[in-house]
């Protein structure tokens, strides 16, 4: 069995494991919740929230991606990585996972691939639900909301930027949740990381190297509030993620399964 076939097979098995799990439920329900929340608010209060002559679309999409990137996305990733690894930890299945005739690379990479699939599903649903909400608003309040393809494309770009900027954060949380079966540790590290990021964003000049601040900073950069070049955030996050992926592989392959 060559490596690609083995990896493909291992990913299929991983996907089977996530049927009927909280991780999958979170990946579907979190974007539904956020998008619905903003749609409902604007559905009920559009006249008060949208100024005459201004397209309400900006307010809905900006409000949604703004709060997602600065607050919700960090917690979503912390929770998602914990739930992904809890499937294995709760089943005490690491000893089984390591005693199958499968390479360490395949077992490790398949966990990442499935995590990205869940994240990707969530992001796609977030965009789809947001646009669906916008469509409902254009029907309900045609004078306040109208379709603007440029704004929609910019929103999709913002989502992509925030996702890439969060890769480093995801790498950190992934490895912590993989190492510790106890949920307190990844949550604790995540919350401390988030709070420190919020504090340091008030003025620390090197905050753009803080993994938990990158999604918020990159969002602000897209709306022109940050002085640091957007590609700097994305490059730092991507390289940091690759380094963590490699470190994680060595942790995984040298792991003593007790």
């Amino acid at each position: 069995m060559n490596m690609i076939k083995e990896l493909y097979n291992t990913v299929k098995i991983e996907m089977l494991k996530y049927k009927r799990t909280y991780a999958l439920a979170l990946a579907v329900l979190a974007p539904l919740f956020i998008s619905s929340l903003f749609t409902i608010i604007y559905f009920c209060k559009a006249e008060k929230l949208v100024k005459a002559g201004v397209n309400g679309l900006n307010g809905v999409l900006d409000g949604s991606i703004g709060s997602t990137s600065t607050l919700l996305f960090t917690f979503f990733i912390i929770l998602l990585t914990v739930l992904i690894h809890q499937v294995e930890h709760k089943a005490h299945a690491l000893k089984d996972l390591f005693s199958y005739p499968v390479s360490y690379f395949s077992t490790y990479s398949s966990k990442w691939i499935v995590s990205f699939m869940l994240l990707g599903l969530s992001i796609l649903l977030y965009v789809a639900f947001s646009l669906f909400g916008v469509w409902i608003l254009t029907i309900k309040h045609p004078t306040l909301f109208w379709f603007d393809s440029a704004r929609v494309l910019f929103f999709i770009k913002q989502v992509g930027v925030v996702t890439i900027a969060s890769l480093l954060l995801m790498g950190i949380q992934f490895l912590i949740a993989l190492k510790w079966s106890n949920v307190i540790v990844p949550f604790g590290v995540g919350i401390v990381g988030f709070i420190s990021a919020v504090i340091l964003m008030q003025g620390w000049k090197y905050v753009h190297f803080h993994p938990y601040a990158l999604s918020a900073l990159s969002y602000h950069r897209t709306v022109g509030l940050s002085k640091v070049c957007l590609s700097q955030y994305l490059t730092f996050s991507s390289i940091g993620f690759i380094v963590l992926f490699i470190i994680g592989y060595f942790m995984w392959s040298k792991r003593r399964i007790v």
């Binding site: 097979n9 098995i13 799990t21 089984d96 390479s103 399964i257």
Partner: protein
């Protein structure tokens, strides 16, 4: 039996975790076709040894050989030929029994028809589509053993597979393992601290205590201290002792009017009885104490304290 090849072999295997030495110079040899019972109290090193066999702990090269090959060099090939159960069932409780076995089937890359075949062997076909969280412990053990069997391995390595089961569950697992050995030719390496179970199903036994193997071999060849003891209650102890001594039987005056002596067979018991009766000794009772593995185990471990 010993002419058969060793499926599991360890050579001077020592292993430490931090400052604590868990295994000391363990030389294990498990022959093809045997049911090898690996006995030891909790903390003796059984699970550590099993984890080393499965390469979950790395004890270094040229220490552990599975199917004649160094496990650290041939991890994937060796694991393909092994079915394993380590300590407790590792099952995804949100999935069904069949889905759990299917995960193992896909990992081993065998035909999907093996899932139902295996479930049938372990007696779980009827409950296969129920979620594991609704199963009793015995049912979970069966599914876990099913995962170990799905690829029809040559060797089963089972770490305390009857832990937590009630007597009927233990009996069912024992019968299943015996049939896998006799009817399907599986070599089985099973660790346990339940001595009676090992005695009932194993052909070979290894005894581990404080990380050292105290005894290893065929159950029937256990040390002579394990011979059965015969107690004879007679009216004249001194004369009976003298009569037996003339016949080459060393009897110990235990208490009251009872003599105790080792015996090897029922024919020897009959002969002893005949000598005494023919010489006019009145016999009040003959009691045979059959030494079981538990007494042998306690004797072996006490000798090494």
């Amino acid at each position: 039996m010993d002419a058969k090849r060793s499926i599991i072999e360890t050579k001077n295997l020592s292993f430490s975790i931090g400052e604590t030495q868990i295994l000391k110079d363990v030389n294990l040899s498990v022959t093809q076709g045997s049911i090898y019972g690996f006995l030891g109290p909790n903390g003796a090193g059984k699970t550590t040894l099993i984890r080393i066999l499965l390469n979950l702990f790395n004890a270094g090269s040229n220490k552990v050989f599975l199917f004649g090959e160094d496990v650290t060099q041939n991890r994937i090939n060796a694991l393909q030929r092994i079915g394993r159960f380590v300590e407790q069932p590792s099952l995804y409780v949100h999935l069904t029994g069949a889905e759990n076995v299917a995960i193992a089937q896909k990992k081993y890359g065998v035909a999907s028809s093996r899932v139902n075949e295996t479930l049938k062997v372990v007696g779980m076909l009827e409950y296969a589509n129920r979620k594991v969280k609704t199963y009793s412990l015995g049912m979970r053990q069966r599914i876990a053993i099913g995962q170990a069997l799905v690829h029809d391995p040559e060797l089963l390595i089972l770490d305390e597979p009857t832990n937590g089961l009630d007597p009927s569950g233990i009996k069912e697992i024992r019968e299943l393992l015996i049939s896998l050995n006799k009817e399907h030719g599986k070599t089985i390496f099973i660790s346990s601290h339940m001595l009676s179970e090992i005695e009932k199903m194993c052909t070979h036994v290894g005894v581990i205590h404080h990380g050292s193997v105290l005894y290893q071999g065929v159950i029937d060849d256990l040390p002579t201290s394990s011979k059965n003891q015969l107690d004879i209650k007679v009216h004249d102890v001194q004369r009976a002792q003298a009569i037996l001594k003339r016949q080459g039987v060393i009897a110990v005056h235990n208490h009251n009017s009872t003599l105790t002596m080792p015996v090897e067979s029922e024919l020897q018991i009959a002969a002893i009885n005949r000598f005494l009766v023919e010489d006019g000794i009145d016999i009040f009772s003959l009691t045979l104490h059959q030494h079981n593995l538990e007494e042998v185990f306690i004797s072996l471990t006490n000798d090494n304290l």
